[in-house]
């Protein structure tokens, strides 16, 4: 594969200064405010945040799937290295252009939280997988059918030839999520965006799906962006984790950094809210207060309104600069900036 100077550190995707706003009746709302992240080849990036944190918006923008009233700021950059080795700037593509359609599915695939509604009820599973295969691979219909059935088999669906002919409502929830993964992988993408893929599933099925994703990643060597609000889930799959809050990234590090040495008060609070075997007997603590409305976004650090360690006169004045704690671990918090000063 031809390496280009533009991509560093074996990165597949580099997102910089990403700012996304929505035009609404109530005014312009900024959902994602100048964030930066990158995904390495063959690795999994986890993005954690509560609903409204902008985690879905920022990743959907990689495929330019945002609604019409969305505005991606001109300074934003989403660089992606295609299979051909060519590095493209996704924000520069015209909507619905051919280049964009090649990226969608063929290079970057997306799986959703709701496997039921992400399939059309009136076409068979097979029809929808074949559509994906035929769109991105130069194969005949017969070959596409073979690929589809093979893929259903690989994601652990029993009796794939029969499932191929069935409709989405004839499958169980776990099966549908497997089928959804099959659709995504049948297009042979180099990046898979999994948007809360296990949230609507039972815990046992959840574990199966996570295991399946880990296996498939090893087998196919693709990168994954895994979005969830559940730190417990992400610890099982991610190599690196970004913590998002109200359109900003608050902390970034390896899974080990974030789970075992969380530095940002928000990350710490999130972790305290998860039941753990080693802390049995301790009370779980919820984060007090609600996420502020994006219409009245706090000035300064977005989390200061709910932060236990808030420093009045500092946190509510401007957004903290990133503090590099180690090669891999970065935090956006005045607690650490102060120490540096």
């Amino acid at each position: 594969m031809a390496k280009t100077k533009e991509m560093t550190n074996n990165n597949l995707l580099e997102v910089k200064d990403l700012k996304i706003s929505f035009k609404t009746d109530e005014g312009i709302i900024t959902a994602v405010d100048g964030i930066k992240f990158s995904v390495k080849r063959g690795q999994t990036l986890g993005i954690v945040g509560e609903s409204g944190s902008g985690k879905s918006v920022s990743t959907w923008s990689i495929m330019r799937l945002l609604p019409k009233n969305s505005i991606i700021d001109k300074k934003s950059s989403i660089k992606f290295q295609q299979k051909s080795g060519k590095v493209v700037e996704i924000t520069k593509f015209k909507s619905n252009s051919r280049e964009l359609r090649e990226i969608r599915g063929g290079e970057v695939a997306l799986i959703f939280q709701e496997p039921m509604s992400s399939f059309s009820p009136v076409y068979t599973i097979g029809n929808q997988i074949m559509e994906a295969v035929l769109q991105h691979r130069d194969v005949t219909k017969e070959e596409a059918q073979e690929i589809a059935i093979d893929m259903l088999d690989r994601v652990g669906i029993s009796n794939p030839a029969q499932r191929f002919k069935q409709y989405p409502f004839e499958l169980s929830g776990g099966m549908r999520q497997r089928a959804m993964i099959a659709v995504a992988l049948s297009m042979n993408p180099s990046l898979l965006i999994a948007d809360e893929p296990t949230t609507s599933l039972d815990v046992t099925i959840q574990a199966q799906i996570l295991e399946l994703m880990n296996e498939l990643q090893e087998e196919l060597g693709m990168s994954i962006i895994f979005i969830t609000h559940n730190l417990g889930v992400i610890a099982q799959v991610a190599d690196e984790i970004e913590v998002m809050y109200l359109g900003k990234i608050l902390e970034r590090g390896t899974t080990n950094d974030i789970i075992h040495e969380p530095q940002h008060p928000y990350t710490q609070a999130l972790l305290k809210a998860i039941p753990r075997l080693d802390t049995i007997g301790e009370r779980l603590t919820a984060i007090s207060g609600d996420i502020p409305s994006p219409l009245s976004r706090p000035i300064g650090c977005p989390f200061y309104t709910r932060c236990e360690k808030v420093m009045p006169g500092i946190c509510d004045v401007k957004m903290p600069e990133p503090t590099q704690l180690s090669d891999t671990h970065t935090v956006y918090c005045f607690l650490y900036e102060e120490k540096n000063v």
């Binding site: 009746d25 709302i29 409204g52 609604p67 019409k68 619905n96 609600d290």
Partner: protein
């Protein structure tokens, strides 16, 4: 690209949390206040309501607003075209509006009487003039009319082939047509509420019978069904009898559908979480019905009533138009349009179609009003 789930989940949801006093006012308002606030914002629906109110008032005081009774014939003014009041003629201008005179001559070739406009004559229009005697609201003897001329005659919307004033007749027709719709809807509604409620409460045979009946009423083409019932009116019936029979026919065909919808809505409301929660919390049936079911239900019913009006109006018009509904001397929009059944009418006297404009405006007004109410009736839904 269009809106996707993303926009609703991630962006819109937090927006609904309005800030400050406005939000306080919003959360503490009663349901009808909320409906009213939302309705006021709906400009089109407000316009519709205003138009209908005007029509109802004008219809109610038709004898006062119109210069003539519905049966007065002005023999020298046959098939006069609509006349617009003017302020100027060749002799100059005045503040008082006036109309040109009308004369009639016998055409020497066809031997028919023909009316001509005579611009040299000036008929001044006065307000609150004395004219034909009538009973206002059927009770008060009066002879004052809103406007009129002292000599000759005034026909703002022209006259028909018998020299009757279309303006006055259309106002009377407005009263007939609107009232027939209102009485029809009310009877249908009462029937639907009582029978539908009973059926929903007791279930069983009566419920089954109503289900079947609505099914039949839904498959038989409606206007032919109305016509079949209207065809049975005896010829010797007086116009009053026919009038009330018409309201009954409209109600009889209308109620099963309404009853079915009331029943369905009641059943679905009964299963709502907040109703179940109330009963789990120990609320008695009267409290559940009065406090939870009725408020949710009333707005729905009102909307339903408003949107069933246009159909009643159009049905009445259609039936009377073909001679199966109201009959002269009763005047309704449909009866007036009987004069306009042929293409010749369009050529010779297009103003005979003016009552049709009233039908269209009334139906449009009811439709936009119904739309506005429906939007407003759901005050907790996000965005309009």
């Amino acid at each position: 690209m269009t809106t996707t789930d993303l926009s609703t989940q991630e962006v819109q949801a937090p927006i609904t949390q309005m800030e400050s006093e406005e939000a306080q006012r919003y959360y503490s308002a009663s349901q009808f206040q909320l409906i009213w606030w939302r309705f006021r914002k709906h400009r089109l629906a407000r316009t519709g309501a205003l138009i209908l109110l005007t029509m109802a008032l004008v219809g109610l005081f038709a004898e006062f607003v119109g210069p003539y009774s519905g049966i007065t014939r002005v023999s020298e003014a046959v098939l006069v075209a609509p006349q617009a009041p003017q302020f100027c003629n060749d002799d100059g201008c005045s503040l008082r509006p006036f109309l040109p005179g009308i004369t009639s001559e016998r055409n020497t070739e066809t031997l028919r009487m023909e009316t001509k406009i005579d611009p040299s004559v000036r008929r001044d229009i006065y307000f609150f003039v004395e004219g034909e005697e009538y009973k206002l609201l059927g009770m008060f003897k009066m002879n004052t009319h809103l406007f009129g001329v002292e000599e000759g005659s005034i026909h703002l919307l022209g006259t028909d082939s018998l020299g009757r004033d279309i303006f006055s007749r259309t106002l009377l027709a407005t009263r007939t047509s609107l009232s027939i719709g209102i009485i029809g809807v009310i009877i249908a509604f009462v029937l639907a509420l009582v029978i539908g409620g009973v059926a929903g409460y007791f279930g069983g045979g009566l419920d089954y019978a109503i289900q079947r009946l609505t099914e039949i009423v839904r498959v038989i083409p409606v206007i032919p069904l109305y016509m079949g019932l209207a065809a049975a009116f005896p010829k010797e019936w007086s116009s009053t009898q026919v009038y009330f029979a018409m309201t009954l026919v409209l109600a009889l065909v209308g109620w099963p559908t309404l009853a079915r919808r009331i029943r369905g809505k009641l059943l679905s409301l009964r299963g709502e979480d907040y109703v179940i929660a109330a009963s789990l919390a120990g609320a008695g049936p009267s409290r559940i019905i009065g406090r939870h079911l009725l408020p949710a239900f009333m707005s729905y019913i009102i909307v339903d009533l408003v949107i069933s009006f246009p159909f009643m109006l159009l049905s009445e018009t259609a039936l009377s138009f073909v001679g199966l509904g109201l009959r002269p001397p009763t005047v309704s929009w449909g009866v007036l349009l009987q004069d306009a059944q042929t293409v010749r009418a369009i050529e010779q006297a297009p103003w005979l179609f003016i009552p049709a404009l009233f039908v269209i405006v009334a139906v449009l007004s009811f439709t936009v009003l119904g739309d506005g109410l429906r939007d407003a009736a759901d005050p907790y839904q996000v965005s309009g």
